[in-house]
Amino acid sequence: MARMKFICDSQRCIECNGCVTACKNENEVPWGVNRRRVVTLNDGVPGEKSISVACMHCSDAPCMAVCPVQCFYRTDEGVVLHDKDVCIGCGYCSYACPFGAPQFPSQGTFGVRGKMDKCTFCAGGPEANGSEAEFEKYGRNRLAEGKLPICAEMCSTKALLAGDGDVLADILRTRVAQRGTGAEVWGWGTAYGTKAGGKDAGGKS
């Protein structure tokens, strides 16, 4: 069984925000919620790097550990999803997540916090696959259509990769061998441990 992961190759990301736009369009994400965003490291300093960040679907997800109502679950493919019918919008997951993935729409009187929203790896939620209810709450279920997340498929420079962790590691390894630099995989160690799926990705977190 494939173990779904994200990799962002900081050597290739050109900060075009195509992944952000594609995600918002595909999943019809509401105003104020960004499931994915591009972050620039050392902005303004020569050699600055950009990376695309969203939920990394961690192997040992801290959001799952701290949720008081256990609204999170992990699929057989390793995708961390949540049930908005169970979520109480407490925000604990937001404090626990090292990537700032959980988002809360500000809606209603006094800016009350709504149900948590985050990247679903384009895998929908607990509702029936491809149903209207699933789309309303979580967006498209591309995984059940045999497709990868739209952010990675839309990435023009293929900086953002999504799919089976072993295959992604092989792709990155080939790139690093070809160009001789840029083995750093930002967030990989934090999300999946130092050894990824039994293989050393050769990067630092």
């Binding site: 494939a2 256990q70 679950y73 169970v86 939620g125 259509e145 045999g146 497709k147 790139r175």
Partner: protein, 74 residues
């Protein structure tokens, strides 16, 4: 009659002792993705809903041929 009223009243009182289960065991009632969406127009051709191996091959093909340009260019 008095006995019946007493029984009904007692049953009503004891009803308060009942409690709905409040434990939450997670929400994994999701169908696996290889079961498909049932919308043929958006589904990748080449595999049928429920075909796990076909689904895995479709995803692998998209990962390798869509994201690994070393497979295409070199």
């Amino acid at each position: 009659m008095k006995k019946l009223v007493l029984v009904v009243f007692t049953a009503f009182l004891l009803g308060a002792c009942g409690e709905k289960p409040q434990t939450s065991g997670g929400s994994n009632r999701d169908a696996p993705p290889y079961m498909g969406t049932g919308v043929a127009a958006f589904t990748v051709p080449g595999w049928k809903a429920g075909d796990k191996t076909g689904w895995e091959l479709a995803l692998r093909a998209r990962t390798q041929h869509g994201q690994n340009e070393f497979n295409r260019g070199n």
